[in-house]
């Protein structure tokens, strides 16, 4: 029991050190933005896939925004992927397609496997370009975003690209404000540090792009995965393709406004991530592949992020158990556990990463909310742990994991 506790504390300390390394790198290290200055080029044809399942509240906003981008119009095709919607999504998409003939080509999916990965997989049948960008329907791209996301594909080593997600509905309630901080830490510090350090920036599946030849080389979208983006990141990495992060390619999104929606979202992320851990964990760390040593280590640690939640809980339980068993002295290990636990879990962003992100974003007042993050942390750690338990139970029963769409809150389009 003691050795298990020591093992957990060592693992958690390892993650804490990793997060400190990232934070210090963002504050003081060399910052890599190699593709951000590309503004003149022979821009390639691009398809923008907009995944939409019952998105009547938000779909018009993104389609209108995409019609205003600065990318050459003759080289940009927008494909709204209407995945079995039962609300007014189809009518809105068709109206836009009529208003912009040739520029918006709807893909209406009437049946088939539910979920975004399956919908994207089907939509790839009509993609004729080498570069595909993916947006969820609640995003609002700015005018220069498409060029910024396409620019890295001039690098023949790049298979995927990821932009920064910025919450739009920040001021709704405490949850949206905490998610705003969490996103800032996750992107501004964690993702950019992994880009700086040539580790494994993660494909996020939205505000993102993929090279079609690379996607086909690694087998296309995996419709069995709950997080097709994480799955894609690792398959690209194993095949020698890089995923790059563009911190200045920012796009507004809508974050969950209620705790149940947030809990469902993070549980889906955790399940999908753990799926990827089981599938790729061993292969990335020890298998024969094109990843560098530092990519192997970071890639493995990144896959383990969500499994740290139940491990942290187990660590606390073990600490209590050894205390009541009268095993002493373990003050050092327990103190270390208490100190590091909070720096490990969460949506990839420890509290000091969030503080650093707020500083880098030049936002002064929102940092005061930092103590409330313990609330988000507590919800996350129990939700993620619960999802791990249910995932193991589902695996034992042989039940298939289900895709749950995140509910939207925007009042009108």
């Amino acid at each position: 029991m003691i050795y298990l506790l020591f093992g957990i504390v060592a693992l958690i300390s390892c993650y804490t050190a990793r997060h400190y390394w990232f934070t210090l790198n963002r504050l003081f290290g060399f910052q890599r933005h190699p593709y951000i200055d590309i503004d003149t080029a022979d821009w390639p044809p691009v398809t923008v896939l907009v995944a939409a399942h019952n998105e009547e509240r938000v779909i018009a906003d993104i389609l209108a925004a995409l019609m205003e981008v600065s990318y050459p119009a003759e080289k940009l095709v927008v494909v709204p992927v209407n995945d079995r919607s039962t609300d007014g999504t189809r009518a809105i998409i068709d109206r836009f397609a009529e208003q912009h003939p040739g520029r918006i080509r709807p893909f209406h999916r009437e049946s088939g496997k539910p979920g975004k990965p399956a919908a994207l997989k089907d939509a790839m049948q009509i993609v004729k370009t080498e570069v595909v960008l993916i947006f969820d329907a609640d995003y609002i791209p700015g005018q220069g975003l498409i060029k910024q996301l396409v620019a890295p594909f001039f690098d023949p080593e790049v298979g995927g690209v990821m932009g920064r997600v910025v919450p739009l509905n920040v001021g709704v309630n405490l949850l949206t404000r905490l998610l705003d901080l969490e996103r800032a830490g996750g992107y501004q510090v964690d993702q950019q540090a992994r880009m700086n350090l040539r580790l494994v920036p993660q494909h996020g599946g939205t505000v993102a792009g993929v090279r079609v030849s690379a996607l086909r080389e690694v087998g296309g979208w995996n419709d069995n995965s709950l997080t097709e983006d994480t799955d894609l990141t690792y398959r690209l990495l194993l095949a020698g393709w890089k995923t790059v992060y563009q911190n200045r390619s920012e796009c507004y999104e809508e974050v969950p406004e209620t705790w149940p929606v947030r809990v469902r979202q993070i549980m889906r992320w955790a399940k999908g991530h753990n799926q990827a851990l089981v599938t790729y964990g061993f292969r990335i760390l020890l298998g024969k592949n094109y990843a560098t040593l530092r990519e192997r280590i970071d890639g493995f640690l990144l896959l383990g992020v969500y499994i740290m939640a139940p491990l942290t809980l187990i660590g606390w339980l073990l600490a209590l158990a050894v205390f009541y068993q009268g095993i002493a002295p373990l003050h050092g290990a327990v103190a270390l556990l208490a100190f590091t636990a909070y720096a490990t879990t969460g949506n990839f962003a420890a509290f000091f990463e969030i503080a650093a992100a707020a500083r880098l974003d030049h936002t002064r007042q929102r940092i005061r909310l930092l103590p409330f993050l313990v609330l988000g942390f507590s919800v996350s750690i129990f939700s993620v742990s619960s999802s791990v338990v249910s995932q193991v139970a589902a695996a034992l029963k042989g039940t298939q994991l289900q895709w749950h769409k995140t509910e939207r809150f925007r009042t009108s389009s």
Binding site: R32, P34, Y35, D37, I38, D39, T40, A41, D42, S70, I140, G142, Q143, G144, K147, F154, D155, P156, E157, V166, P167, L168, N169, V170, G171, L174, R177, D180, A184, S213, G240, E250, C251, Y252, Y290, T292, D361, T363, R364, Q365, R366, R368, L369, L370, P371, F372
Partner: protein, 354 residues
């Protein structure tokens, strides 16, 4: 202190310590002082001529008055609706003309309606507009300059924010060009010039060297691409005169020997060297330093994460297919030509020889 009181004090103390950091948080939650989305760039795409176009619109109301000055051959001064002072020059500046100055600095917007010459050693703290060809005297400093025709910056001039010329923009030796410099025709920089961000259909370092422009797309000898990408985990050395179809990616250094032809793009994670006369139809990307030899031809982008040097008579992009050349520091030798954008994020300069 009896035990119950001690326990109460302890609980109160612990409670206070717990609540203390929450006070600013509760305050922010109630007052919502920073509850807005992060301000991200939504409305423009970082266009290099953004400020130049903005100034052109800003000065538009002055142009009828400037035209009247030109017709009458007089100068005039006044204030714009926003309170900004201006000086309209309706005739070429005489050698003994005195600009209004405060502490050796001209503090007003200057608009010249004719071809004109500015005397040496002046500092223009506000924008300068030139309807005709403007020749700026030696060691002048400009905040920003807009030329409807050509701009000639004589030796030692400085531009602090931006400059735009509809026709040729020429900077003589030792000019320092900070910020955004653009032309609708051509930019020519002499040896000793410092630059950051340039954009023009043609950017030339030093004197123009008459040499043919390669049309990569009409290369009859282009081989058929058989492999989409070659990935190497070690250093790569491409032999002289080799012809390669497809992309080349190396995790180490890359050296392409003289006269080799690559019908694709190349990426190196170490130092990249292109020897004399190499052609790359696609992009050249390097995570390390990059050196482009003499008479090379690059069809696509040129991106280096560290320093980049481009030797004499090399060309990046073509008139029909402009491109971007970008690195933190860029050194150009005379005769190096870029069609499109040249962006040295920290420091770019033109030297006599590499």
């Amino acid at each position: 202190m009896n035990p119950p009181t001690a326990a109460l004090v302890l609980v109160l103390l612990a409670g206070t310590l717990f609540v203390l950091p929450l006070l600013p948080a509760i305050g922010e939650l109630r007052l919502q002082r920073d509850a807005k989305p992060l301000d991200i760039i939504q409305q423009h795409a970082g266009e290099i001529k953004h400020f130049a176009h903005g100034f052109r619109e800003y000065i538009e109301p002055l142009l009828p008055a400037l035209e009247q000055c030109v017709q009458a051959g007089t100068n005039a001064s006044g204030k714009l609706p926003g309170g900004e002072k201006y000086l309209l020059l309706g005739r070429p500046v005489d050698p003994d003309f005195e600009f209004p100055t405060e502490k050796q600095c001209c503090p007003v917007i200057v608009a010249a309606g004719t071809d004109t010459f500015f005397p040496s050693g002046l500092t223009f703290a506000k924008e300068v507009y030139a309807a005709g060809q403007l020749t700026g005297g030696r060691r002048n400093t400009y905040r920003a300059v807009f030329g409807e025709k050509g701009l000639l910056l004589e030796r030692g001039c400085k531009v602090l924010r931006w400059a735009h010329a509809a026709e040729k923009l020429e900077a003589q030796g030792d000019c320092e060009l900070y910020g955004r410099i653009s032309s609708d025709q051509e930019i020519q920089l002499s040896a000793g010039c410092f630059f950051q961000r340039l954009h023009a259909p043609r950017i030339i370092a030093g004197e123009r060297i008459p040499s043919p422009v390669v049309d990569f797309h009409s290369q009859a000898q282009a081989p058929k691409v058989t492999a989409a990408r070659r990935l190497f985990e070690q250093d790569v050395d491409i032999r002289p005169g080799d012809v390669i179809a497809g992309d080349v990616v190396t995790r180490g250094k890359l050296r392409i020997r003289a006269g080799a032809r690559i019908f694709g793009s190349v990426k190196s994670n170490g130092a990249t060297v292109l020897e004399e006369g190499v052609w790359v139809m696609g992009s050249v990307i390097s995570a390390g330093p990059m050196r482009i030899g003499r008479r090379c031809r690059i069809g696509g982008l040129l991106i280096a994460e560290h320093e980049m040097a481009i030797d004499a008579d090399s060309q990046c992009g073509t008139p029909d297919q402009p491109t971007t050349v970008s690195a933190p520091t860029i050194t150009l030798a005379p005769g190096a030509t870029i069609f499109g954008t040249l962006w040295a994020r920290e420091k770019g300069h033109v030297v006599e020889r590499l």
